[in-house]
C-alpha cells in the first residue's frame, strides 16, 4: 500500500527545494537590477543593493562656505564667524566622526571643536551644522571637512530620467525602445498568422505531399540561423530590401516559422476530431472551421508561441545587427544600445542597471500578463 496513487511522493521535498532554488536563481539578479537602477552611483559603489533599504555609512569630503562670498562671514564681537550646514538642502545625514585633514578624517566626534592654524576654530554638529570662527578676517576657499556620515536609505528616479527622457543620444534608451517595439510586434504577429494557417492545413486538411511538408518543417527546426545570415542578407540587398525593418521582420518570420508551425500543428492535431467533423456536418467550410473553432481552441498554443517569439525577438541582437542596424545608428535596438553603453559607460553601473531593467521590463510584463494562457486548459468539457 506504499505506492498507491495519491500518496505523496518521497521526492516531494526535492521538488519543493528545486522550485525554491529556481525562483531564487531567477529573482536574485532581477531584483538586484531593479534596486540598483534606483540608486545613485555613490550608493552603488558604497554598498550592495541588498543593503539599499538600510542606512549607509559614507565618507564624504565637504566644504564650508567660501569666505569670499558676499555675506558669508559676519563679525560677531571680535570674531569673524561663518555658520551654515555642510550638506546640501534636504539631505538627511548623521555625522559620526570628522576631521579637517585627509590624513585624519576621524579626528573629532560630532559636536567637538577643532583648532586649526592662526587661531581658527571649527565646530561641526551631528546634523552638519558648523561654526567656523577666526580672530582675523577669513579669505580664500571654504574649509574642507572630511566627514563620516550615515545617510538614510534613499532612492532616486534620476537614472530613469537620464536613460529615458534625456536628449543625450549616448545614454538615451527611449529611441531604441521604440525601435525594438517596431521590430518585435510585427516579428511576432506575422509568423503566428502564417503558422496558424499552415498548421491547420497540415493538421486537418487532406492534400498530397502533406507528410513530406511536415517532415521538411521538422528538418528546418534543426537548421541554425547563423547558416542563413550571409546568404539572406545578400538576397535582401540583391532584391532591394536592404537593411531595415522590412528585412528584419522577414528574417525573424523565417527563423520563427518552423517552430511555430511545428508547435501549432501538434497542438491542433490533438484537438478532438469529433468537434471538427461535427462542424463540417453543421455546414462549416474549412475557413469557418479554422476561424470559429480551431483558432479559439488553439488560443493557449498561440499565446505560448507568441510569448516565446516575442521574447526571442525582443532580446535578439544578432539578427538585428545583420539585417537592421546601419551606419547611421537611427534604427538601433535596445540590446545594441546596451552593448554600446557598455563601451561608453562601462563604469557607470547605475546607468547600465537602469538600461538593462528598461530592456527586461516589457518581457516581464508580457510574461506575467500572459502566463495564465500557458496553463489554462480550454478543452474542459468538450468531449468525455
Amino acid at each position: 500500500m506504499d505506492n498507491i496513487a495519491g500518496k505523496k511522493s518521497g521526492l516531494g521535498w526535492v521538488v519543493q527545494i528545486s522550485v525554491i532554488a529556481l525562483v531564487l536563481l531567477w529573482l536574485f539578479p532581477t531584483v538586484g537590477l531593479l534596486v540598483s537602477s534606483f540608486r545613485t552611483a555613490d550608493q552603488i559603489s558604497e554598498s550592495g543593493w541588498w543593503r539599499a533599504l538600510f542606512p549607509t555609512q559614507q565618507n564624504m569630503t565637504l566644504r564650508a562656505a567660501d569666505p569670499d562670498d558676499e555675506g558669508a562671514q559676519a563679525l560677531v564681537g571680535d570674531l569673524y564667524v561663518i555658520e551654515g550646514n555642510l550638506f546640501e538642502e534636504d539631505t538627511e545625514a548623521t555625522i559620526s566622526v570628522w576631521g579637517t585633514s585627509s590624513r585624519a578624517i576621524d579626528a573629532y566626534k560630532a559636536g567637538e571643536t577643532a583648532e586649526m592654524n592662526d587661531g581658527e576654530i571649527i565646530t561641526v554638529q551631528e546634523n552638519g551644522d558648523y561654526r567656523w570662527t577666526s580672530p582675523e578676517e577669513l579669505s580664500g576657499r571654504g574649509q574642507r571637512v572630511f566627514v563620516t556620515a550615515t545617510t538614510p536609505a534613499e532612492f532616486t528616479l534620476s537614472n530613469y530620467q537620464r536613460v529615458l527622457f534625456s536628449d543625450d543620444s549616448t545614454d538615451s534608451m527611449a529611441n531604441a525602445f521604440f525601435n525594438t517595439l517596431t521590430v518585435t510586434i510585427p516579428a511576432t504577429i506575422i509568423p503566428i498568422v502564417i503558422a496558424a494557417f499552415a498548421a491547420y492545413a497540415l493538421a486537418w486538411m487532406d492534400f498530397p505531399g502533406r507528410a513530406i511538408l511536415i517532415a521538411m518543417v521538422v528538418g528546418l527546426l534543426v537548421v541554425p540561423l547563423q547558416l542563413a545570415l550571409i546568404p539572406l542578407l545578400r538576397l535582401h540587398l540583391g532584391i532591394g530590401i536592404g537593411k531595415g525593418y522590412l528585412g528584419v521582420w522577414l528574417a525573424h518570420t523565417g527563423f520563427g516559422l518552423p517552430l511555430a508551425i511545428y508547435l501549432l500543428r501538434n497542438y491542433m492535431v490533438g484537438l478532438p476530431k469529433d468537434i471538427i467533423e461535427n462542424a463540417r456536418v453543421d455546414g462549416a467550410t474549412d475557413f469557418q472551421i479554422f476561424t470559429k473553432i480551431i483558432l479559439p481552441l488553439s488560443f493557449p498554443a498561440l499565446a505560448s508561441f507568441a510569448i516565446f517569439q516575442f521574447l526571442w525577438t525582443w532580446n535578439d541582437l544578432l539578427v538585428a545587427k545583420v539585417f537592421l542596424i546601419d551606419a547611421t545608428g537611427e534604427t538601433t535596438v535596445m540590446t545594441n544600445q546596451i552593448v554600446e553603453l557598455l563601451g561608453t559607460r562601462g563604469g557607470n553601473w547605475e546607468i547600465l542597471a537602469t538600461a538593462a531593467f528598461v530592456s527586461i521590463a516589457v518581457p516581464l510584463l508580457v510574461f506575467f500578463m500572459m502566463q495564465k494562457y500557458l496553463v489554462r486548459g480550454l478543452l474542459a468539457g468538450s468531449v468525455k
Partner: protein, 363 residues
C-alpha cells in the same frame, strides 16, 4: 424529409475492404438502427452517409440526389457523436445556434430555432453555461439540440449513449424516441447495444464484418433470425445453440451428448440425415411447473443447474447440455441450489434449427 438509398456501397482502406457492397433503402421518417459488434463497419457506413468518409464504390443518395461527391455541409444532415463534440468555447446557446450562424441566418430566426430546440429538450436553464459545466446527460441533450436546430433531412446518431451510465442511458433512450415522434425525420442510429436497437428501431440492420446479416423490424429479427449470429446477437440472454444431427426420418434430433429431441413439426421430415444446430431462447426453456406458455409441442429434458441469477420476477438458471452452456428462465421462482437436477420443458414451436455448415436458418 428524405429517404436514403445505399447501392453497392464499398469502403476500403488501402487494400483492406471493410464494407462490402451494402444495399439499403431507408424510407422517409423511418428510424433505422445499425447494430453489430465493434469493427463490423456500422460506424463507417454511417460516416459515409454523413460524407465524413469517402466512398470507395457504389452510390449513396439522399432524397433524389446522389451525394457521393458532396461535402458533408451540402447534404443537409445532422450528426450526434459519441463524444458529444460540443464546442467547448461556446455557451449552450451558441452551440445550438452555431450551424445557423455560419449559414448567415438572421438573428431572430436563430433565436427562435434555439428556443424551440431548447424547449423540446428542456435545456432552458443551461443556455448560458459552457459545456464544461454540464453533466453527461445534459451534454448529450445539447448535442441532440444542436442537431435539431438545423431541421435536417436526416439525423445520424453515432453511438450517442455509450458514454452514459445505465440509468441515464435508459432515460435518454426514451428522449430519443420522443424526439423522433416530435420532429418526424429520418433517423439512422448506430449502436452496439442490442437493447437500444430493439427499443428504438422501426427497422434493425444487423451488420457483421462489413456485410448486412439481416434487416427487419425488431420482432422479425428476434423471432426469425436468419443465422446463428443474429440469433445470438439479438435478444438477452443470447439464444442457446446446441449442435446435433437430424436422423434419417428427419423427425428427431440427437444432440451431442445423446439427448434426443423431436424436430419441430413445421420442419419434420424436411431435413434428414443432416448436421444441424438446435437453437432456443431462455424464454422457451423452463423448469416443469414454472413454465407459463404450454404449447402443443414440447419436449422434456433433464439438466443440472450450475448457477442461478435471481432477477426478482424471474430467475435465470445456468446448466449444461452436451458440454454447451444453456440458460433457462424460471418464472414464479423458488430458491434453486446449484447442483440441483431439474426437468425442463422446451417449447418446440419457438425453436430454431440452423444448418451446421452455413449456420443459416433452416425452414
Amino acid at each position: 424529409m428524405a429517404n436514403v438509398k445505399l447501392k453497392n456501397v464499398v469502403k476500403n482502406y488501402g487494400s483492406l475492404e471493410v464494407v462490402h457492397g451494402i444495399n439499403l433503402d431507408v424510407d422517409h421518417n423511418e428510424f433505422v438502427v445499425f447494430v453489430g459488434p465493434s469493427g463490423c463497419g456500422k460506424s463507417t457506413t454511417l460516416r459515409m452517409i454523413a460524407g465524413l468518409e469517402k466512398i470507395s464504390g457504389g452510390e449513396i443518395s439522399i432524397g433524389d440526389r446522389v451525394v457521393n461527391e458532396l461535402p458533408p455541409r451540402a447534404r443537409n444532415i445532422s450528426m450526434v457523436f459519441q463524444n458529444y463534440a460540443l464546442y467547448p468555447h461556446m455557451t449552450v446557446r451558441e452551440n445550438l445556434g452555431f450551424t445557423l450562424r455560419i449559414a448567415k441566418k438572421p438573428q431572430s430566426e436563430i433565436d427562435q430555432a434555439v428556443a424551440e430546440a431548447s424547449a423540446i429538450l428542456s435545456l432552458d436553464p443551461y443556455l448560458d453555461r459552457r459545456p464544461g459545466e454540464l453533466s453527461g446527460g445534459q451534454r448529450q441533450r445539447v448535442a441532440m439540440g444542436r442537431a435539431i436546430v438545423r431541421h435536417p433531412d436526416i439525423f445520424l446518431f453515432d453511438e450517442p449513449l455509450s458514454n452514459l451510465d445505465a440509468k441515464l442511458r435508459a432515460q435518454m433512450r426514451v428522449e430519443i424516441k420522443k424526439l423522433h415522434q416530435k420532429v418526424q425525420t429520418t433517423i439512422i442510429y448506430v449502436t452496439h447495444d442490442q437493447v437500444e436497437a430493439m427499443t428504438l428501431a422501426d427497422r434493425i440492420v444487423i451488420m457483421r464484418d462489413g456485410y448486412i446479416e439481416q434487416q427487419g423490424t425488431p420482432l422479425e429479427v428476434f423471432e426469425k433470425p436468419v443465422n446463428t449470429f443474429v440469433a445470438t446477437f439479438i435478444g438477452s440472454p443470447p439464444m442457446n445453440l446446441l449442435h446435433g444431427r437430424a436422423d434419417n426420418s428427419g423427425k428427431n434430433i440427437t444432440l451431442d451428448d445423446g439427448v434426443n429431441v423431436a424436430m419441430p413439426s413445421r420442419l419434420a421430415g424436411k431435413y434428414a440425415d443432416k448436421d444441424i444446430i438446435f437453437g432456443f431462447r431462455a424464454d422457451n426453456i423452463m423448469p416443469v411447473g414454472h413454465t407459463l406458455p404450454q404449447g402443443d409441442e414440447s419436449v422434456e429434458i433433464d439438466m443440472t443447474v450450475t448457477l442461478t441469477e435471481p432477477l426478482g420476477a424471474e430467475t435465470l438458471l445456468f446448466g449444461e447440455i452436451g458440454g454447451t452452456q444453456v440458460q433457462a428462465k424460471m418464472l414464479n421462482p423458488r430458491i434453486v441450489k446449484p447442483g440441483e437436477k431439474l426437468t425442463f420443458q422446451i417449447d418446440l414451436e419457438k425453436c430454431h434449427v440452423f444448418d451446421a455448415q452455413s449456420e443459416m436458418v433452416l425452414d
